[in-house]
């Protein structure tokens, strides 16, 4: 499972970096999104991959931490998703504004000279 997980993160991050380096604004946006997916999965993985265990500790009395998944990375991922969602939306607005102002979707606001 770890191998599959790592490969998925690698593919997402690689595609994201490639797209960010492209000249069209929409490609950059998609690249940022893919990269943030990769980072979110990475944060999640940093809490170690465990199966069939709840992330919260219920009840009172002594508990065995081995019975539970680490809840902190899940909380971090949640925060990162919310922040990433908001900034992506903002970027989308700026992208459309730039398209409207310059008439091109090149990141520099003008087509490169031939």
């Amino acid at each position: 499972m770890e191998i599959v997980y790592a490969v998925v993160i690698g593919i997402l991050a690689g595609s994201g970096v490639w797209l960010i380096l492209r000249p069209r604004t929409f490609q950059v946006l998609l690249g940022l999104m893919l990269l943030s997916y990769a980072v979110n999965l990475f944060i999640f993985g940093m809490g170690r991959l465990v199966l069939h265990k709840a992330p919260v500790i219920a009840g009172s009395g002594p508990v065995d931490p081995a019975m539970y998944a680490d809840p902190v990375p899940q909380a971090l991922v949640l925060t990162a998703i919310v922040i990433g969602f908001a900034t992506t939306a903002l970027f989308l607005v700026v992208l459309i504004a730039l398209r409207g102002l310059t008439g091109t979707d090149h990141v520099d606001g003008q087509e490169p000279a031939e």
């Binding site: 993985g45 900034t87 903002l90 992208l95 504004a97 102002l101 606001g109």
Partner: protein
């Protein structure tokens, strides 16, 4: 009494947050109420910051005996809950935010906060983000406050719209989004290895790591460092900075002067708590020197004042990073002093550019999108007329006499500050940096110190040349100039900041002593760590 004073720590975050939220309920037409509210909020923050400055100093030992105040949010115990920590460095930075924020707001009220796009609420949020970043004792919380201040800065940098501004703003947003992702990767790696994100707790755990864990941990810290360096505007990660800063409106540029310093503060804080590595410090030295050199060359090439000031931000960041990279502990006090001076200088200068831009009838550098007749889709979308900052439309304050003399005097003062000539504190700060770098080594200064000193002096000379050239063109060229009307509200903050700088220069002795004590406490993180981790037991004792 102490129980109430404890809560002062969280107020620099809560006050601007509430004020920003309050803006939602005040429509644009109730301008007086809005302006009163934001000015009151900034003034309260200033008072709180000064109170914290006093409470963390040696003079007041009754509340925090070691000068480190810890505030556990929700009263959750230290390594598990999120803590806010105020020590001398945090208090100094909070005061700086409050001073710059307050003066900038007064300046902005004169003409820059016209309706159409929210200015005041976003401005309060950026102050909240800055305050939070300087207060937090938790790495992930630092990320959150970084995002708060960055999100607010995205809104501010896009103010005024126009194609060039939108394009540069988009570059700025894209670079900072990638930097934020790097920040997250670093934080996740550190958590995965050390199992904690509390900075004080990390200090203890990092020392026990070895082998593979240590290598991964160092990698995490290095990635985090790259994210900080992007914010700090270090070469080669700083090409977004001049573009974004020089197109921002004057008051926005003034508050942005603080944002690069957040990166430097994080490097100082995390670096001293985790015990910075020698190779990383060497990297900082060379990155700082490269920033300094490229910034100096760019200053010589700059044609427009706002761009020149943006490049001077790079120069000051280069000096600061390189000085930190020298790894001389006695230098840290001077670094903080120079950081304070450079923030005040840059803010003043950005405000000044907003006024000098109006002195010329045909300023080639006034960007076409500031033309009030060109409609912009953003404004049309909101159904409002695009406000022009260059158009005299409102009547706030009265015009002051001898405008050109005033502008010229302020320009000379700012030049002296940037270049570092007496009697301005820029001179004292640079002198302290150079003497510290050249003196503190037992067997004579190292080659790095000589390199550093030579570059700093050369960059000062280059700034002097470039600023004299621009000054002559702005004030002495007879062609194409009209005397602008200035409002007291605009002139007063600039004059106040210059006077504050002069005071800093005259009272350099006590300030330097205080900052040296700050630096000493920074280099003894044990006190900080102990205070944060002891907050728990202390708290339980107080409970009945």
């Amino acid at each position: 009494m102490n129980a109430i004073l404890q809560h002062l720590v969280v107020l620099p975050i809560i006050v601007p947050l509430l004020c920003a939220a309050g803006m939602l309920f005040l429509p644009e037409r109730r301008r007086a109420a809005r302006v009163t509210l934001v000015l009151a909020s900034a003034f309260i923050q200033l008072l709180i910051a000064i109170a914290l400055l006093y409470l963390t100093s040696d003079a007041a030992r009754f509340i925090w005996p070691e000068g480190v105040g810890v505030y556990a949010i929700g009263n959750w115990d230290a390594p598990y809950g999120i803590v806010l920590v105020v020590d001398r460095l945090s208090a100094v930075m909070l005061t700086l935010v409050a001073i710059v924020g307050f003066t900038t707001l007064i300046y902005a009220v004169a003409r820059w906060d016209r309706p159409g796009q929210p200015f005041h609420s976003v401005f309060q949020l950026i102050m909240m983000g800055l305050n939070g970043a300087f207060l937090t004792g938790d790495l992930f919380n630092l990320f959150v406050f970084f995002e708060v201040l960055l999100a607010a800065s995205y809104g501010l940098v896009l103010r005024g719209a126009g194609a060039v501004r939108t394009r540069n703003g988009m570059h700025y947003i894209a670079v900072n989004l990638v930097a934020s992702l790097l920040f997250l990767i670093g934080v996740a790696l550190i958590y995965g290895i050390a199992g904690t994100l509390n900075m004080a707790d990390l200090a203890g755990r990092a020392a026990t790591l070895s082998g593979e864990d240590r290598a991964l941990f160092d990698a995490g810290v290095a990635i985090l460092g790259v994210a900080f360096l992007v914010k700090a505007g270090s070469w080669p990660l700083n090409f977004w900075l001049p573009g974004a800063y020089s197109i921002a409106h004057a008051p926005v540029g003034a508050i942005f002067a603080l944002m690069t310093k957040v990166g430097l503060y994080s490097i100082l804080r995390v670096g001293t708590i985790l015990g910075e590595d020698e190779t990383l410090a060497a990297a900082l030295l060379y990155l700082g020197l490269a920033t300094l050199i490229t910034g100096t060359i760019a200053i010589l090439a700059a044609k427009h004042l706002a761009r020149l000031v943006s490049f001077s931000v790079l120069v000051s960041m280069g000096i600061l990073l390189a000085a930190f990279g020298l790894r001389i502990e006695a230098l840290t006090g001077a670094i903080i002093f120079y950081m304070i001076v450079s923030v005040l200088t840059t803010s003043t200068f950005f405000m000044l550019t907003g006024m000098t831009d109006r002195t010329r009838i045909a300023d080639p550098m006034v960007m076409p999108e500031d033309n009030p007749t060109a409609g912009s889709p953003v404004y049309m979308g909101y159904g409002v007329r695009q406000p022009s900052v260059y158009h005299d439309d409102g009547e706030v304050g009265i015009a002051i006499p001898a405008v050109m003399a005033f502008l010229g005097l302020m320009f000379v003062c700012c030049t002296l500050l940037v270049v570092g000539l007496p009697p301005m504190p820029g001179f004292v700060a640079k002198f302290a940096l150079l003497s510290g770098a050249l003196r503190e080594v037992p067997d004579g200064p190292a080659a790095a110190s000589w390199m550093f000193s030579a570059t700093v002096l050369l960059s000062g000379l280059a700034s002097l040349i470039a600023l004299s050239r621009i000054g002559m063109r702005l004030f002495w060229s007879v062609a194409a100039r009209e005397t602008p009307r200035l409002r007291i509200l605009e002139a007063a903050p600039v004059a106040a900041l210059v006077v504050l700088c002069l005071t800093l220069g005259v009272a350099a002795g006590p300030v330097a002593r205080y900052l040296d004590a700050t630096a000493r406490s920074l280099h003894q993180p044990d006190t900080y760590v102990r205070a944060v981790l002891a907050a728990r037991s202390h708290d339980h004792e107080e409970r009945p």
